[in-house]
Symmetry: C2
Subunit: 497 residues, 2 copies
């Protein structure tokens, strides 16, 4: 490191002192990948000290998506977050939001950076970005995610770099820091194939904006990959079977890329592909490249993977480092504005697979809010993909909480994806292809194919009652009983009658 950069090297605690009460911070990080660790932890400690002395200290935290406990968890526990956007998954942060203590704006991940750039959301004044390299002329290379880091680096007045050495130069070259210009200067995004690139693998900033460099050597905190459970395997198997059927019918060209959402079931589908001897090599055009991708690589079944984040447990990180030369050619990490861009998703004909919290009998999906009021993680990029994909799956186990909850309900309590755009539901009970069906046919099919047998009668009763009592028969929908199953659950702890 050159002397001008060395002179900016300070401790995390010193860097935390540079942040003002009330500031908007833009941090790197996307779903536990590539988020800053040392400075947010130090900032949380500083907030606690200030609060103990009766002084106010709260910041607004904009990120790519969720960040690790060292950031979201520590800052939430320190009551240092006033406003958070656009996604989270940390238990302590989530609880604080659901107690109404933190403002939280849940946003489509593909549009978050765009909202900031167009002035619909305030501009971060300080960016805290995890980097694997920074040069004295202001070139910054990211670690395991791109997220909204390009946007935040451009817009912030001050940049704090967490220079993380844990990957060495293994990630060098996998980023594509391209961002489309804003209207009226926007041109087509130059991505026609999964691995196409539009920009440089680093971001150029004004080196004078870099106010601190904090050295770290700490990996992303990611649980090791676990074998999918029976339910997830079942759902994954059904999806592969359905895809083969569609291909045979001539409705699905070969070679379209997959998007695979977060969570267990999504991992199971990729694992099933890796293990299926008949499976051709696949491409991923996705948001988070989850660890199951290494199963595909080991089985020689990955053409290439594009995402905005790469989540690696310690084992996967070692594997990546050992095979960096080969793997760098198979991966592109893009800004989430591009990884989740409707233009590219529609162009590539992505096959999308996302997990739902609950689905209703008419075809609506809730990805984000339990009983309509408590945020789980957020809508994430699910709508970016499901709304623009060529073929889209929503999947979930048919019950949650040991059977006390049916994930198929009369009406979703929060609606993230509407009946106009959902294609296919899958639970371990079966698959419902909803394309082109009218509402009544959808309802019958979802209850028959996807609902758990324990709940079919209740759902059919609702549908029958709706058919009789509803004013319009296009969507027979009894408003007076729409949420009865949820109300039962809230009162008695189970949806069972």
């Amino acid at each position: 490191m050159t002397s001008d950069l060395v002179s900016k090297e300070i401790s995390a605690e010193e860097a935390a002192e540079l942040i003002q009460d009330g500031e908007v911070l833009g941090v790197s990080g996307f779903t536990l990948a590539g988020y800053p660790k040392a400075v947010p932890t130090a900032l949380a400690k500083r907030a606690e000290r200030l609060h103990a002395n009766g002084k106010p200290f709260q910041i607004t935290l904009f990120s790519g998506a969720s960040t690790g406990d060292e950031c979201d968890g520590a800052l939430a526990r320190a009551k240092a977050i006033k406003w958070r956007a656009p996604y989270q998954s940390n238990p302590d942060l989530r609880s604080a939001i659901n107690r109404g203590e933190i403002f939280y704006t849940d946003a489509h991940l593909g549009i978050m950076g765009h909202l900031v750039r167009t002035g619909s959301l305030p501009r971060p004044t300080t960016a805290i970005i995890e980097a694997s390299e920074v040069t004295s002329d202001g070139k910054i290379r990211f670690t395991t995610s791109c997220g909204n880091s390009v946007e935040y680096l451009r817009m912030a007045d001050r940049i704090i770099v967490e220079l993380n050495s844990i990957y060495g130069d293994a990630l060098c070259g996998i980023h594509d820091c391209y961002l489309p210009e804003l209207p009226p200067y926007t041109h087509p995004i130059p991505v026609v194939n999964v691995l196409d690139r539009g920009g440089k693998d680093y971001v150029q900033v004004d080196p004078k904006k870099i106010v601190a460099i904090v050295r770290t050597n700490q990996g992303d905190t990611i649980r090791p990959f676990t074998e999918p459970d029976a339910v997830s395997k079942n759902i994954g198997g059904q999806i592969l079977e359905f895809l083969a059927h569609e291909r045979k019918k001539g409705r699905l060209p070969a070679g379209l890329p997959y998007q695979s959402g977060v969570g267990n079931v999504a991992n199971a589908v990729l694992t099933a592909m890796a293990r299926d001897s008949l499976q051709e090599p696949v491409s991923l055009f996705t948001e988070v490249i989850q660890e199951a991708v290494f199963e595909l690589i080991k089985a020689d079944k990955l053409v290439g993977a594009s995402g905005t984040a790469l989540t690696c447990s310690a084992d996967a990180r070692e594997y990546f480092k050992q095979n960096a030369a080969t793997l760098q050619k198979k991966f592109v990490l893009r800004s989430q504005e591009v990884s989740n861009h409707p233009e590219v998703i529609r162009r590539l004909g992505v096959i999308s697979m996302n997990t739902a919290l609950e689905c209703d009998i008419f075809g609506n999906v809730n990805s984000s809010h339990v009983c309509g009021s408590s945020i789980m993680n957020g809508i994430g990029g699910s709508a970016d993909f499901s709304r623009n994909c060529l073929l889209g799956f929503f999947m979930a186990p048919s019950t949650a909480k040991n059977g006390a909850i049916s994930t198929i309900v009369p009406f979703v309590t929060h609606l993230d994806h509407s009946d106009h755009e959902t294609h296919i539901f899958v639970t371990e009970q079966g698959l419902a292809d909803l394309r082109g069906l009218d509402p009544v046919s959808r309802a019958h099919k979802i209850i028959e194919n996807c609902a758990h047998p324990d709940y079919r009668q209740q759902l059919n009763d609702f549908l029958d009652y709706s058919m009789r009592s509803s004013k319009g028969k296009h969507i027979p929908f009894a408003l007076d009983r729409a949420f009865n199953m949820h109300l039962d659950f809230l009162e008695k702890g189970t949806m069972k009658e």
Copy 2:
């Protein structure tokens, strides 16, 4: 007309005989513009005769959007429609759907043609297309809309042309019949400015597929333009004021194109622009170019307008014909896959304005279903635009049915646009800029700014009760009272307490 074409000229009644029971028909037409008139009317009569003789006759009707009474109305009254998609607005068809007599699939208009092309919906076997020109080598030029006609012409086995002479050659050259290839062969759509074109102004078909040519000389049935009412003018005025404010704040570059939805309020905004002496000339990138566009033209305030349909009353048609040479250079009519394409809407930074049936206090919008069960018209292209625009408005009078209905409700009974993507609500009471707000702040702002004073107390009571009773406080949402206002309306004919 050359002799080979003359030999295909038959009457509408003869053409109707070519259609089989159970067929899927793909017709031209988009919101009362450019739909076939003579053949559907004759087909309805044929169905009635067959039904009178105890014979079955029903078809599936796929269109661009709604069609006129000569098509949707006549066929619905004749009970000749089994399945209809993707949009409608005819009173008789709507009633039959809401009685549960006709299957109806409501779809995003920008995706309908894509669903048919990718095999998610069945392929039309006969296309009935209104044309202003047809040549012996199979070149077809459309009339007042493009809709899904390119798709249906390509996919159908048989083509029936309604050759309509009412526009003469006045529409010659305004169509752009470009369609992107399907994945995996899709390339960027070559539209970077509102008037850019990607294809030819005619469609080339195999002339052997043209089985009939039916001559007509009948205009689209469109009510003459009427002066906007006071409420619409008020809403239009607020939108213009807000746009000026955003521009002054540096958050909105000049020159972005507008999308303006169907209905009275949308017309009022364009009219207000035409009459505002400070208004710069505007571009439209929209779905339906409504008649208010001529106000802009007369005021010399139109740069150019792109849409998939042009709705002209008899007066407007005469105006168009007289000024065809100039107007042809100001208009492009595209396939609805392109006029409503997320790629182009996002690229151009469209400012979108659509009318809602009802909005809820959390920011969700219902565009399509009264009390969750009866279809009004359909979601149309509203989500194509609102989801991908740079800045989006949903507007509605704060009450309907002489005040018996509040259009601001605790929870929408059908959800077309979610709180994740709605930006700004406007009623004649005021405007609520929801961008970046958390759910509780949104609720306060919508009630304060947009609800009618007669309903504010009820809405605030719901919010207060929800704050107390809801398990999660992120979205305080009392499931047990969510639809009470609607239930009151259904029981007592008014939402008033």
